[in-house]
């Protein structure tokens, strides 16, 4: 596979390390009510779609960017690649 890195252009997926569903960005608030349940769902449950999947890849043998790659899990077609930091900010994460 080839991942079109937003900063570096097309790179072989072999340069990257895969983590999983991009919802891992949405780490719950430790002080929320029922934080334990929320952390359980965050860490363990997955939509695991057959189709478009937003997922985290780390450019380990590259610039160390974490990326959010939108990829079809049936065809492996990649439709967008974003810096995970930008996605995280867009989802309201900050400090």
């Amino acid at each position: 596979m080839i991942i079109n890195h937003p900063l570096l252009g097309p790179r072989d997926a072999q340069e990257f390390v895969y983590l999983g569903d991009a919802t891992l960005i949405d780490r719950p608030d430790w002080q929320a009510s029922e934080a334990l349940d929320r952390f359980y769902e965050y860490l363990y449950l997955r939509d695991n779609p057959a189709g478009m999947h937003r997922e985290l890849w780390f450019h380990e043998q590259g610039d160390r960017s974490w990326l959010v790659v939108t990829r079809n899990t049936v065809t492996h077609e990649i439709t967008s690649v974003e810096l995970a930091r930008d996605v995280a900010r867009a989802r309201g994460r900050s400090k």
Partner: protein, 416 residues
Amino acid sequence: MRYSGFKIIAQALTGHRGWKPVWREPEPKRSYDIVVIGGGGHGLATAYYLAKEFGEANVAVVEKGWIGSGNVGRNTTIVRSNYLLPGNEPFYEFSMKLWEGLEQDFNYNAMVSQRGVLNLCHTDAQRDAFTRRGNAMRLHGVDAVLLDREGVRRIAPFLNFDNARFPIKGGLLQPRGGTVRHDAVAWGYARGADTHGVDIIQNCEVTGFRIENGKCLGVETTRGFIGAKKVGCAVAGASSQVMAKAGMRLPIESHVLQAFVSEGLKPLLPGVITYGAGHFYVSQSDKGGLVFGGDIDGYNSYAQRGNLPVIEDVCEGGMSLMPMIGRARLLRSWGGIMDMSMDGSPIIDRTDIEGLYFNGGWCYGGFKATPASGWCFAHLLATDMPHPNAAAYRFDRFRKGLMIDEKGMGAQPNLH
């Protein structure tokens, strides 16, 4: 029809005209006591044991394609019970014992071949871990032998002892481990279940569940609604997809595991050998092909095919471990979709929906589990009680912190 050598001779002399279909192809009835979704190894085994051991005669297996078309038909055929943790070891040993009597039980030669499974170690820490695991096996009454380097050499003198990046230090051998002819397992269970009255319905895809007031009443399929008092789902690889139709999210990701076979060769390997310093395991089929594999590709996939990095990685491991296979040719590769669970162990449990039961999350170890998985799932479906050997395979273990994590990799499915 009972199979035997005499039957073959008799049929040969009469032009093989008397062989009957190995299973019927019935139309689905309007309802059953139990519907098992998934005509793979686990689903067929479940139906077989439901009918044979638990007296459930009114059972159907519904299969989207043709039976045995999923992972039971595309794996590397290894059976073993060399597990560490108390939640796992009794279950897999139960499975091993069922393998040992399976062919006589269902009158079908699945070529259960206990030529041994040898896991190699390459560091002192690995040897310590193997010692712990081998002792855990022995404490469970399971056979295990810890070999030193010379012991490994006696079994497999062709391994790379002289020029290795990661020298072989020893190995953990389970002599009773081995291989089984995978397709024959599906066919044998199908034949056995059919003989006991189970309806095996191929080309029948489940499109939804009929759930009313928190109770599952049956399944919607491409061949119409099929009512059921209980529905058991055994569709590993597609678990998340099917259970999503019942509104459930699972602690599972789907990943592709590739496997490979070489051209046929005269016998050279004694049993199953796994490399401890790379991703490579291998056995030789009765037909002569080297059957081998390695790690999953590592990204979520439903594509049943993989990519070159893993193909090359597996061959690198193979060449490092046994450089005499270099001139053997890789003949065919294939990919299966694995239910990779969050702790590397399976789930056999009720769901929050009454009448709906789940069996999945087998990672890439489901084949060896087929008999016990079928038996324990049948037990759960028939009695509403978990089988003692599968009692740890609960959904709520993640919420409660009771993970069964053989590898210690945590909640990252592609590392299990």
